[in-house]
């Protein structure tokens, strides 16, 4: 089956080039920022862990909301062209399949090797079974949720006795109060990603 999720490979239009370029630049920037945080970030000896006030709070939250909306809008710009390429590839396969006199098993194989968008829909409606992939997804979700739960447990314990341990909130507020610009960019980038991933544009066929 090989690359069963591939759509139309070599077809490069402007939106695909822009998408690849934007994601490539974002990836490099983020990797660079990790290097900065690792080797060049200097945390002041004293910093405030109180709730942010006034304009700083307002601008960071505004940046986060703008990032969330921006992530959605980027998807709206990119998705139609990608979908168009995917359906063109699917249509080509659909035209060829009956001519080949495919059997039921072959049709199933054709479905799993066809357009990724439709393949996923078939997969999630149970028409195509891929238990190994489902298990990997399930395991990833369980690990991520376990990690979030652990962090929330630590946060709860630390908040109940802040004289013993700093809760994560304090670290974030300390960073935000000493480097508000970096905190705003970080919050906007995180929410941008969330907006792009969990508020993805609706399918035009709906």
């Amino acid at each position: 089956m090989g690359s069963s999720l591939a759509t139309s490979g070599p077809d490069w239009d402007s939106s695909r080039i822009a998408r690849v370029a934007a994601l490539g630049v974002a990836s490099l920037l983020l990797i660079g920022l990790i290097g900065w945080a690792l080797f060049a970030l200097r945390v002041p000896a004293t910093c405030s862990y109180s709730a942010l006030q006034g304009f700083t709070s307002f601008w960071i939250v505004s940046a986060a909301v703008a990032g969330f909306i921006g992530g959605h809008l980027l998807g709206r710009w990119f998705e139609p062209a990608r979908e168009q390429r995917a359906f063109a590839a699917f249509a080509a396969r659909a035209t060829l399949a009956p001519d080949a006199g495919a059997s039921e098993a072959e049709t199933l194989a054709w479905q799993t090797g066809g357009d990724a968008t439709l393949q996923q829909e078939l997969f999630f409606t149970g028409q195509v079974r891929q238990p190994r992939r489902a298990l990997v997804v399930q395991a990833t979700v369980v690990v991520l949720l376990a990690l979030v739960t652990l962090l929330l447990v630590y946060e709860t314990i630390a908040l109940s006795a802040t004289n013993l341990n700093w809760p994560i909130t304090y670290y974030v507020r300390c960073f935000a109060s000493s480097k508000p610009l970096a905190a705003g960019i970080g919050a906007a980038a995180f929410c941008f990603l969330l907006g792009h991933l969990i508020w993805y544009p609706e399918d035009r066929r709906d």
Binding site: R16, R19, S27, Y49, R82, Y171, Y200
Partner: protein
């Protein structure tokens, strides 16, 4: 909750920063790879999954939204 907090631990601040950036970078690199090979983007996969579990996705959005509010928003006293 007491008012006195222990001295700041710069390594923990750095760690929080690196963890957040690493999550972002992983997602961006994965999406970059998917875009480069013209495979369905991460967002599309999550949307398809979210259609099956809308409550779950809403809960995730609620938790992350609450975190942003908890960290950065303050109500004037």
């Amino acid at each position: 909750m007491t008012d006195q907090a222990p001295p700041i631990n710069p390594i923990a601040v750095q760690l929080v920063c690196i963890v957040v950036l690493a999550i972002l970078a992983s997602a961006a690199v994965l999406d970059f790879y998917l875009a480069l090979t013209d495979r369905p983007p991460l967002g599309l996969r999550i949307r398809t999954w979210g259609r099956r579990y809308p409550g779950f996705l809403a809960a995730v959005a609620l938790v992350f939204g609450a975190m942003v509010g908890h960290f950065f928003l303050s109500i004037p006293e």
